[in-house]
């Protein structure tokens, strides 16, 4: 049959054509133009041609002609030539003569007329090709209208050949064309059955699909032996295109289960070629029959989605886990085969389906996200921690650590006992913050160089963890000051050179210092006593107690202890304390606070307070009324949790402004805001604050109201007004009344992770699908019984234990010897391997 041969050749050229199914407009004209004589004499037996007769180009037929011209190329592939026959004017023959014949196209095989088509049935290329092929393949493609017809055909096919049953909503559509094109290629292999009756589709058990979309079912009638049962059907999941149908039929035609006895890496089946995964069921002699059944069961489930192969482990030396029972090979190049341990066939099916789903999504997103992904991945590796980055950029610089004694587990305690005061920095040599502190610490050592009685030292907790644990170091860095015979003081100030230096200086003096005479007390308030601190600018606090105020004195002693290093405290409780209290107009118990070398001494009455309350009170008293805000002191004022009224200035603020502001600050007894100023020269980051508020730095000085703790609204004092107490107060009044519009509002945003982390879980799930399966298994329904445990679940599923014993037997030849002695002996005779007994 030469025609059939030709069709097979076509099937491949067709594929190519369909893949690039763009109508080739500019190609050489395939439409022949002939006279009736020429045409009828050129007709060859068995060769089909589509003819259209016309006298001249009638305007109505113009669009039709265009379509027929376009279809000429498509039809040529099926051996159908398209001819336009130009009728001479005087011709009155059968085809040229009648007016209505000119409204038709005629399909001839040889010189026999097969069908005439009204031109309105040939509205486009699809309909032309579909209808022409439908006519030509009248015998190959059965058209059915009733279920009985369908069943009759099915029954006659049983045991003989398979059936392709297609439903199209209408003839002449693209789907119809695709089916016909497929039938042209496969018509002799399978019986094609076509219907346009949606009812039939419902009756064949595809009721859920809507009738508006075409469907194609492959009916496995060849295997069917039972006449009473309908043939097994495999629906095609994709839309009806020539390519998809071709693919589907190829898959249906492939053997259900391929037996494999070679390295699975080398195996290739039609499934892999068509871009589908191949599932290997790993088998061996002992369980071959069961495995074969399992494989077939799985294959039926996966028909059209994946191929199934039965791999005999006895024949192939696999370097894989003994327990593995399933392998998955994907069509992607360079992806190694995955060996899995699965519990039931559902898992295999789910695995493949998930895989396909993922693939589809990936394909969809691949193009869009590829670039983005790349960018994101790269930036994840880039250090965005300023401290870590700064320290690592500084790591090659050698630190001047000569002044700082290195302590070890052995020397730690002896060093502490040798010096009056030992400052110890506990750090970890890999920890950035503590290394940053180590740098400041070297500066502290510079400042304190030559100071008697203070030893600066460090302990690397990475080298000596037991020392750090014993000293209760839970954070890096930690600084402790050890005084001989006393409890260690933990440094709790800013991690900076100045602050630490000051702390060490102040903590040299015991706190509170007991003053013996009124003169000493006076000198103490002036900052001249004790002499260690005379050269050091500091604030002094003196507690004055009468002998009767024992309780307050105890609390003060404790408070002084807590404040060690932050402020110097002294106390006087001699009999003549009254003289001192009279001078400063306080009655004991009282505190005298002396700032800047005794120029002003404030008296503060003490009531019955606990040490903690006293610490709070002293801290509050130490705050300035109209402070200059700096990076270092801001936290102290933040703790008041009040709005800030800040005067930003480029350098010092003018006397006038400062006076007015001071008046404002001292305003009410219960001050409800923190009045302060900020020197942009000293605190350049203030510029960043202003930029955040106003996008650029406004003209200075600028007075700003910020409600940091409630609402975060920022208001700017009108620059055209001068900063006076009255102006500002009236502005504040308007603010409170809600008459002013905020310049900006502070972001309420949470501090989220700056960048995503590597999603190893997802990577693992992609690489080891068992993991994903495993979780979906128990996440889905934890109480669900596994199919392998259910008594009725006879689906050829192997249970895990049998799997294990099987695997052991296959994998280790040594163990294989276990069992009956005759087997051993038998083996002995054939097996020449000397490594086995």
């Amino acid at each position: 049959m030469p025609a059939q041969k030709a069709r097979w050749v076509f099937s491949f050229s067709l594929l190519l054509f369909c893949a690039s199914s763009i109508p080739t407009q500019g190609s050489a004209r395939l439409l022949q133009e002939l006279s009736p004589q020429e045409y009828f004499s050129s007709l060859q037996a068995g060769r089909a041609s589509l003819a259209y007769f016309s006298h001249n180009v009638s305007p109505g037929a113009q669009p039709f002609l265009e379509q027929i011209e376009h279809s000429a190329e498509a039809l040529q592939d099926y051996g159908v030539s398209v001819v336009k026959v130009n009728c001479p004017k005087e011709d009155v023959s059968r085809y040229c003569g009648k007016e209505n014949a000119l409204r038709k196209a005629y399909l001839f095989r040889g010189n026999m007329l097969i069908r005439e088509f009204p031109t309105d049935a040939l509205f486009d290329v699809n309909s032309i090709v579909a209808n022409v092929l439908f006519a030509l393949l009248f015998n190959e493609v059965k058209y059915v209208e009733t279920l009985a017809d369908l069943q009759n055909i099915e029954n006659t096919l049983k045991g003989r050949s398979n059936m392709v049953f297609a439903y199209v909503p209408a003839t002449g559509t693209a789907e119809h064309r695709a089916v016909m094109e497929a039938a042209f290629v496969y018509g002799t292999v399978h019986q094609f059955v076509l219907t346009t009756e949606a009812m039939l589709l419902k009756d064949t058990g595809n009721g859920e699909s809507d009738a508006s979309s075409a469907r194609l079912l492959f009916c496995h009638c060849q295997r069917a032996t039972d006449l009473a049962q309908p043939c097994r059907r495999t629906a095609m999941g994709q839309t009806l295109t020539m390519l998809n149908i071709h693919r589907h039929l190829k898959l249906m035609g492939a053997p259900l289960v391929t037996e494999v006895a070679e390295d699975p890496e080398k195996v290739s089946t039609v499934h892999l070629q068509l871009g589908l995964p191949l599932v290997f069921i790993l088998s061996q002699k002992e369980t071959y029959e069961a495995d074969r059944r399992t494989a077939e069961f799985v294959a039926w489930q996966l028909l059209g989605k994946a191929g199934v192969a039965l791999l005999s482990r006895d024949l192939v030396d696999l370097n894989i886990l003994l327990r593995s029972n399933v392998a998955l090979k994907t069509p992607d190049e360079g992806v190694p085969i995955k060996y899995l341990v699965l519990e039931d066939t559902d898992e295999v099916i789910k695995l493949v389906e998930d895989k396909n789903k993922v693939k589809r999504i990936q394909e969809d997103e691949e193009e869009n996200e590829e670039d983005e992904d790349e960018k994101e991945n790269n930036s994840q590796d880039i250090q965005d921690d300023q401290v870590v980055e700064a320290v690592s950029r500084d790591k090659k610089r050698e630190l001047p650590l000569e002044q700082i004694l290195v302590l070890t587990e052995e020397t730690f305690h002896s060093a502490l006992s040798e010096t009056a005061r030992t400052v110890v920095l506990f750090y970890a040599s890999w920890e950035a913050v503590s290394l940053a502190m180590l740098r400041s610490y070297t500066k502290v050592a510079d400042h304190l160089k030559g100071m008697q009685g203070v030893l600066l030292s460090r302990v690397n907790c990475w080298d000596w963890p037991s020392v750090c644990t014993a000293e209760n170091v839970t954070q890096f860095p930690t600084i402790k000051i050890y005084k001989k015979g006393e409890r260690a003081v933990m440094y709790d100030g800013m991690w900076g050179t100045e602050e630490l230096t000051s702390f060490i200086m102040l903590s040299r003096v015991s706190c509170p210092l007991k003053l013996a005479t009124v003169d000493e007390a006076e000198r103490y308030l002036r900052g001249e006593f004790p002499s260690e601190l005379s050269s050091y600018h500091h604030t002094s606090l003196l507690g004055v107690f009468s002998t009767a105020t024992n309780e307050a004195r105890k609390a003060f002693e404790e408070a002084g202890n807590i404040l060690t290093g932050h402020v110097t405290t002294g106390m006087y409780f001699e009999d003549d304390a009254l003289a001192l209290s009279r001078k400063y107009a306080v009655s004991p118990p009282a505190l005298l606070l002396s700032r800047s070398g005794g120029q002003s001494v404030e008296g503060i009455a003490l009531s019955k307070q606990s040490a903690q309350e006293m610490v709070q009170m002293i801290r509050y008293e130490l705050l300035d009324v109209f402070p200059e805000i700096t990076v270092q002191n801001l936290p102290r004022y933040l703790q008041l949790r009040k709005p800030f009224l800040i005067l930003f200035g480029d350098g010092d603020i003018s006397q006038m402004e400062s006076k007015e502001m001071l008046k404002l600050a001292k305003g009410g007894p219960q001050q409800e805001f923190v009045a302060c100023w900020l020197n942009l020269k000293k605190t350049p980051v203030g510029r960043g604050v202003l930029k955040a508020y106003f996008a650029t730095v406004p003209s200075l000085p600028v007075l700003v109201w910020v409600n940091l703790h409630a609402g975060g609204q920022v208001f700017k004092f009108p620059s055209e007004q001068s900063i006076t107490e009255t102006n500002v107060l009236s502005w504040l009044g308007k603010l409170k009344a809600g008459l002013e519009i905020p310049s900006s509002t502070l972001s309420e945003e949470d501090w989220k992770p700056p960048l995503p982390a590597y999603d190893f879980l997802q990577m693992m799930e992609t690489a080891v699908p068992e993991l994903a399966l495993h979780t979906s298994h128990h996440r889905r329904d934890t109480s669900e019984r596994r199919p392998s445990e259910s008594p009725g679940g006879d689906t050829g599923v192997r249970e895990e234990p049998s799997q294990e014993t099987k695997a052991e037997k296959v994998g280790s030849p040594g163990r294989d010897l276990r069992g009956t002695a005759p087997r051993l002996a038998a083996r002995e005779k054939q097996g020449k391997r000397h490594s086995e007994l």
């Binding site: 250090q383 320290v391 900076g496 050179t497 980051v685 960043g688 519009i741 693992m764």
Partner: protein
């Protein structure tokens, strides 16, 4: 004081002649002494029974050739004591630095006598309460609702003296030699008694049964004087460097592998000893045959009538007769002293030499009975180091901590840290912790998050198999999610038949860390404590069920995981994304800026700067940060002329704009990728 306590604890239980103790430990080997140490430290009422006159009696005899195969690495280049324990496989845990094994031996593979001396010192210097010459011959239960576990343990020694205990710690080790019975097994010498003098083997042909370290140790000793040695066992040889399991054949003993593969007459064979038979000929030579041949034959018949395999197969491998056959098949647990009521059952499969225990080391049959030491190896047999001193010293401590919580209301020790120390605390532990390292995939550090993730609680070396019972076992609560930190080898990397030297076996890139093959830290994140059901359903070969997120710190050649970009940064990103927060460190200046421009502060500023503990940083560091683009230098703004030249007009202009312009997030800090 120790004596006084001891005397006090000897009070006789009501009426009966029972000497009562809260805790009884059977066996004064390494694990028994280790348990005693922790009980002593916690001032518990305990006693250790030892049948010998001195501790560690097993080591007085074994290994026969006296060379321990646990390493005694005296130098690591590091002074970190905890880290150094990773490479000290012989010391027990104690506070006393004198009791480090390196003070007892200078050998890398020390002599067993050093171990005996060490254990003697450990018991005596720490004044552990060990009752020597007391062999417990019977253990039974006495039901009592008042008892800790609903029953007391009644122990009887060889002199019929009875003891009563609330909790029983079995640290008897594995000392019953494994024996195989087959026709002719009477000709087999045991490892326990075989001569260790090579001279006794001169010119002999030897067959060794077994393929463990004792078999190879025996072979190694006589390799140079024998005609040849054949070694038979059921399974193929498992090399510890391929399996990453210290109990498999160690390279120090594998001389026979050399001589086998170089065809120097020695050889290895696989076969089931059960199918074997040995026949002695008239000259005293031992012939290998198959039990199968003997079964078919009248056993009373002489040697000549017995079929030898070579009669049918004339090139049969072991057709040459042997002078000696030595059995080196290892040991098993002594089940004989326990009354049936204790239900001390052997394990299944290759664990049948061990008693069945839970991952908490408590017996499956009896509450309150814990198995310690080598006998507890079923938990991690052929995986981790739980059967060896360097492993069970930690599991013993874990058991002690479980008991402290269960019976004395002392919760599992933990430290609370602010969240800013989260990355640090993990990095510190994975770099130095020895228990995590030795007992990989068995002991885990647990981080319990406090509400709002502002602080966390750190628990060390908890048995990961009982993770689901964490709250009950530790007395700590885990309502806000947890991290589990363990060490793992790459799955599918280790194995008897695996090539562990293939090219590109090590991963270097942090982003491929999950494929790391060598031991590396893995951090699992769970939003809530996994249930027992989930623990049971965990994927095969996984120590834990599927987490909500997981992080692998990429394997490191030096096992030093402190690299800022390859190790710490990806870990920080992982933690940040689990907690949905920003865990970066900031200089005080940045915190200052945030304090004025944002309503919320990152944890580092919130817990540091705001509490007056901001990191001021040195000028040089701030400059580096500016150069890296992670800190803006506002002093430069002065020179750049940030303001428009005509300030009056400009300010007018700005006034109009000021209202409309919202605060922009500080891009350079918020998002590094914009840089």
């Amino acid at each position: 004081l120790g004596l006084a306590l001891y005397a006090g604890s000897l009070r006789v239980a009501s009426g009966a002649a029972f000497l009562y103790h809260d805790y009884c430990v059977i066996g004064a080997g390494p694990s028994g002494l280790q348990a005693a140490y922790f009980l002593q430290q916690a001032s518990r009422d305990y006693v250790v029974f030892e049948r010998s006159h001195a501790p560690g009696s097993f080591f007085a005899l074994y290994p026969r050739h006296r060379k321990l195969i646990s390493i005694n690495k005296r130098y690591t280049g590091k002074s970190n004591g905890e880290f150094n324990l990773r490479h000290d496989w012989n010391s027990l845990l104690s506070h006393d630095r004198q009791l480090l094994f390196q003070r007892y031996s200078r050998d890398f593979f020390p002599n067993a006598d050093a171990m005996v001396r060490y254990l003697e010192d450990f018991a005596s210097l720490l004044k552990l309460r060990v009752q020597y010459n007391t062999a417990i011959v019977h253990v039974t239960l006495e039901r009592d609702g008042q008892a800790w576990n609903g029953h007391y343990f009644l122990l009887t020694d060889q002199d019929r003296q009875n003891y009563k205990c609330s909790s029983l710690l079995v640290a008897t080790g594995m000392w019953v030699p494994n024996v195989v019975n087959f026709p002719g097994s009477e000709y087999v010498e045991g490892y326990e008694t075989v001569s260790i003098n090579p001279e006794d083997f001169a010119g002999q042909t030897v067959l060794i049964l077994g393929r463990g370290n004792s078999a190879f140790e025996t072979a190694e000793n006589i390799l140079g004087v024998t005609n040849f040695i054949h070694m038979v066992s059921r399974s193929r040889v498992r090399l510890s460097w391929a399996t990453h399991y210290v109990g498999d054949l160690r390279a120090i003993n594998n001389g026979l592998l050399d001589t086998y593969q170089l065809k120097s007459l020695d050889g290895l064979l696989e076969g089931d000893l059960e199918d074997l038979a040995i026949v002695k000929d008239k000259k005293g030579k031992l012939h290998i045959t198959l039990r199968f041949y003997l079964d078919n034959r009248n056993t009373s018949a002489g040697i000549d009538s017995i079929t030898l395999p070579q009669d049918e197969l004339d090139n049969f491998a072991t057709r040459a007769p042997y002078d000696r056959v030595i059995r080196c098949l290892g040991w098993k647990f002594d089940f004989s002293i326990y009354n049936r009521s204790l239900r001390m059952m052997p394990g299944k499969g290759n664990k049948k030499k061990y008693p069945q225990i839970k991952p908490s080391y408590e017996s499956r049959g009896t509450r309150g009975l814990f198995v310690l030491g080598t006998a507890s190896h079923s938990v991690d047999f052929r995986k981790s180091a739980g059967g060896f001193i360097h492993g069970f010293r930690y599991t013993t401590r874990a058991v002690h901590r479980l008991l402290e919580n269960r019976h004395h209301g002392v919760p599992w020790p933990s430290t609370v840290y602010p969240i800013t120390q989260l990355t640090n605390s993990i990095i510190k532990r994975v770099n130095e912790a020895s228990g995590l390292y030795q007992m990989f995939s068995v002991l885990a550090d647990i981080i319990l998050l406090r509400e709002n993730a502002t602080a966390f609680e750190y628990l060390e070396e908890y048995p990961v198999g009982v993770l689901a019972e964490l709250e009950m076992q530790t007395g700590r609560k885990a309502p806000n999610g947890l991290f589990v930190i363990i060490m793992e080898y790459g799955r599918n990397f280790s194995g008897a038949d695996k090539d562990v030297f293939y090219y590109n076996r090590a991963v270097g890139e942090a982003q491929h860390a999950w494929q790391s093959n060598f031991l590396h830290p893995v951090i699992y994140y769970y939003k809530r404590l996994p249930t027992e059901h989930e623990m049971r359903l965990r994927p095969p070969d996984w120590p834990l069920p599927r987490p909500d997120a997981v992080h692998h710190i990429v394997e490191d050649f030096l096992t030093d995981w402190t690299a800022p970009n390859a190790h710490i940064l990806p870990l920080r990103r992982f933690l940040e994304n689990c907690l949905s927060t920003d865990l970066r460190n900031f200089f005080a200046e940045s915190c200052f800026l945030f304090a004025f421009t944002r309503q919320k502060l990152p944890p580092f500023c919130q817990q540091g700067y705001v509490r007056m503990q901001g990191l001021v940083g040195s000028e040089g560091l701030r400059r580096h940060a500016v150069e890296a683009g992670l800190l803006e230098d506002y002093t430069l703004a002065d020179f750049l002329g940030d303001r428009p030249p005509d300030s009056r007009e400009g300010s007018q202009d700005q006034l109009l704009r000021d209202h409309a312009i919202p605060v922009r997030p500080l891009q350079h800090l918020v998002n590094a990728k914009d840089e």
